[in-house]
C-alpha cells in the first residue's frame, strides 16, 4: 500500500504520463493498493501565471488559486485515463473531491483535515486513485493551493492519514550533501533522518519542503525521494526516524536564497509595537526566521528579523508606518547558509571550524544562529558559491 507522487517534469508530456501509467498499472496488477499524487504538467503553471499577468493580475490570490488548480486537475484526469487504457480501473480526484479541507489562506493554505470517505470508497472498489496535488478547498468550497512544495505535502499528508509509505518521484536522484550545481562533488545521501532533512529543507535544500518532512516525522511515515521511473530504490534517498549508517557529523550544507533583513530601531520597550507587528505577520501567514533583538542602555529595542524577499514585499505592502509608529527598514542581498548534521551536538569544534573556514577565505558573515543539529549564517549573495565550496571541502561532503 503506497502513495506515489510525481512532480511536474515527470508528467511533462503524453509519453511521460503513459510511462507512469504503465508503472502504476503494474504495481496495481501485482496486488498493491496505490494512490498517486501528481503535479501540473511541466510548464503549465508558469504558462497560467503568465496569462494572469497579461490580463492584469494584481495579487488576486483567490482567482490565481482557482486558475492554477486547473493544471493538476488536467494531469490527474489524463493519468487516470491512461491507467484505465491499460485495463486497470482508475479515478481522478481534485483536492476538493479527495477531501482536502484547508484554511482560507489563498496561495499558501494549510491542510486542516482530510476526509478520506470518498477516496477509501474508490480504493475499496479496486481503483487506483489519482489525486491532484497542491490543492484543496475551504469548508465553503473556495479553491485553495498549498504553496511551495504543495504537491509533496498532499502526498505526505495522504500517506500519514492512510498510514502508508510515501514515494516522492522527481527529477533529482535524491538528497545531496549540498547543491550539486554549486559543488559538483556533492554526494547523494542514501539515508537521512527526519530532523536532518527538516533542517535541510527549512534551510533551503530545495528538494523537499519542511512541512512535508514535519508531517512524515509526526506520523512516522517512511519517505523516499528519487528519480521518476527509476525503480532501483538504492539510487534515491530514504528519509526516516534513525539512520542505519554510521553518523557523519555533518550531513550537508544548505542554502536559502533571497534573504531580506528587516530592521526596526529604537522601539519603546513596552511590547505593544512587537505585538502589533507579529499580529500583522501572522495575519499574512508568514513564518519569519531568525529573530533577534538588542536592548540599548536607554531601554530602547533594536529589532531584526529575516524573511525571504517575497515575504518582505508582502510585509511592506501591509505595514502602515503611521499606524505602527516606527519606520521599518529592509536590506536585501543576503543568503542563509546552514551546516546540518546530527553530529553537531556530539562532535565539538563544528562551529569553530565553520567560522574559521569562512574567515580564512575572506567571507563575511552576519547573523549566526544554531540548533542541536545545525549552524546557520547569513552571508552576502556574492559569497554564496565560494562559501559552499570551502565548507564542503572542509567537512569532506
Amino acid at each position: 500500500m503506497i502513495v506515489e507522487k510525481y512532480g511536474g517534469t515527470s508528467v511533462a508530456d503524453v509519453d511521460k504520463i503513459k510511462a507512469i501509467a504503465k508503472h502504476v498499472a503494474d504495481i496495481k496488477k501485482r496486488g498493491h493498493d496505490i494512490v498517486v499524487v501528481a503535479s501540473a504538467m511541466g510548464k503549465t503553471t508558469n504558462a497560467l501565471i503568465q496569462l494572469a499577468k497579461e490580463v492584469g493580475y494584481a495579487n488576486n490570490d483567490r482567482e490565481m488559486d482557482s486558475l492554477l488548480s486547473t493544471g493538476e486537475q488536467q494531469t490527474v484526469t489524463l493519468l487516470a485515463m491512461a491507467i484505465e487504457a491499460l485495463g486497470v480501473p482508475a479515478i481522478s480526484l481534485t483536492g476538493y473531491q479527495a477531501g482536502f479541507i484547508t484554511s482560507n489562506h489563498h496561495a499558501h493554505a494549510r491542510i486542516k483535515d482530510i476526509d478520506l470517505t470518498n477516496l477509501k470508497q474508490q480504493l475499496d472498489q479496486g481503483k487506483v486513485v489519482v489525486v491532484a496535488g497542491f490543492q484543496g478547498a475551504t469548508e465553503n468550497g473556495e479553491i485553495t493551493t498549498l504553496g511551495r512544495g504543495g504537491s509533496d505535502t498532499t502526498a505526505v499528508a495522504l500517506a500519514a492519514k492512510l498510514g502508508w509509505n510515501c514515494y516522492i518521484y522527481t527529477d533529482v536522484d535524491g538528497v545531496y550533501t549540498t547543491d550539486p550545481r554549486i559543488y559538483p562533488q556533492a554526494k547523494r545521501l542514501e539515508e537521512i533522518t527526519y530532523n536532518e532533512m527538516m533542517q535541510m529543507a527549512s534551510l533551503g535544500s530545495g528538494v523537499l519542503e519542511t512541512r512535508c518532512v514535519e508531517i512524515a516525522s509526526k506520523y512516522n511515515i517512511q519517505l523516499y525521494l528519487g528519480r521518476a521511473l527509476k525503480t532501483d530504490l538504492s539510487k534515491g534517498t530514504f528519509i526516516m526516524e534513525t539512520k542505519h549508517l554510521e553518523d557523519m557529523p555533518i550531513t550537508g550544507i544548505s542554502v536559502k536564497e533571497d534573504y531580506a533583513i528587516m530592521r526596526v530601531l529604537n522601539i519603546e520597550n513596552d511590547g505593544i509595537y512587537l505585538g502589533n507587528l507579529f499580529q500583522l505577520i501572522a495575519d499574512l501567514n508568514i513564518n519569519i526566521d531568525t529573530i533577534s533583538q538588542q536592548i540599548s542602555k536607554d531601554n530602547k529595542i533594536n529589532f531584526t528579523f529575516y524573511c525571504n524577499e517575497k515575504q518582505s514585499d508582502l510585509i511592506l505592502q501591509n505595514y502602515k508606518e503611521e499606524e505602527f509608529g516606527y519606520k521599518i527598514e529592509r536590506i536585501l542581498g543576503f543568503v542563509k547558509l546552514s551546516v546540518v548534521g546530527v553530529g553537531i551536538s556530539t562532535h565539538s569544534g563544528i562551529a569553530s571550524k565553520t567560522l574559521n573556514t569562512l574567515t580564512k577565505n575572506g567571507i563575511k558573515y552576519y547573523q549566526i544562529t544554531s540548533s542541536e543539529i545545525s549552524i546557520s549564517l547569513t552571508i552576502e549573495k556574492k559569497d554564496k558559491e565560494k562559501a559552499v565550496q570551502v565548507l564542503a571541502q572542509a567537512f569532506d561532503l
Copy 2:
C-alpha cells in the same frame, strides 16, 4: 440587470479577454448588476480532447468532464482578474461554486437546480460575478458538463433563475433564415419567437441549442444573440414571446446533420421489446427523434427512429442483441431539413410547396413529420446544399 455569455472565440486570447473585461466593467460602472458566463478559450477544449486521445481515452466521460471543465475555469479566473485590474470588483465561480446541481449523466448532464446563495452574496457585495459555463456538479461533488451548447444553457438558466435578460455573444451576427454558408443570400432575422427558434434550434440551425430556448420561453426571459463587443443591438437577433414584425409565413430553413436511421423489423406486438429499448435509450440520456412504427398484417411491428450518428454509436455499444431478442439496423448518410415558421399553421400550401419544390429539383425525401410551425424531411446528405437553395428561393428567404 443582465446576464452576458461569451463563447470560446470571443475569449480566445488575452486581448479579447481584456476587451470584454473593459465592456463588462463599463456596464458595472454605469450601475448595472451583471453576471458574465464564459466558455473555454478558443481551441482549449479541442486541445484537451486531443491530449486525452493521446493518453488512450476510451469513453471515460467522468474523467473527460473533469478535464474539460478546467477550460472554462481558466477563462473565468482570467476574466475576473482582468475586470479587477480595471478597478471593478469581480469574482469567478466554477459551475459547482455557482450552485449548478446536475444529473450524473457525464458529458450531457441536465441542470437539476441552481442554488444561488453564493452568487447572490457576491452580487450583494457589488461584484461582477463571472461563472464558468458548460459545467456543474452532482450532489456528490462529481464534476459534470452539460453537453453541446452547454455554456448557453448555463447563461439562460442563470437568467431564468435571476429573472434577468440574457445576451448571448458569439461569432455570428444573429439568427439567419438559413445557414449563410449554404445559402449566401440568407437574411438575418431581427426578431424570432421562442417557438420558431426552438424549431430552428432543435432542427439544427446551430446557433442556439433547443434547451436554452426552452428555458428562456418557460421563464419568459428575453434572449439576444449577437456578435461579441458589437454594442449596437439592432445588429443581432432578439428571441421573444411574440414578434413585432409582420409575420412572414416561413422564418427559416434549418438543417440537422449526421442523421442515422435506426430500424428494427418484425417485432412481436406485445410492448415488451419497445419498453426495454426506450429504457436503454433513457438510461443513455438520449432524446430520439421522429419515431415511427407500422403494424403489418400478421400483427408484427416495424419500428424506426432517427438520432444523430454519435448517439447511434452509443446505442449500438450498449444494445445487446441476445438480450433484446431482435437485430437493430443502422443506416447512415442522412440530414434532416426543416422549414420553420409560425405562418405554417395559418398559411395554406406551405407543405405542398415544399414537397413540390424538392420533387421538381429531383431531390428524394424519406420520413416526413410536421408540427404547428414546422415541416421536416429526411433527405440524403448529398442533396443538402441543393435542397436548402431551392427552398430558400421558393420561400424568398
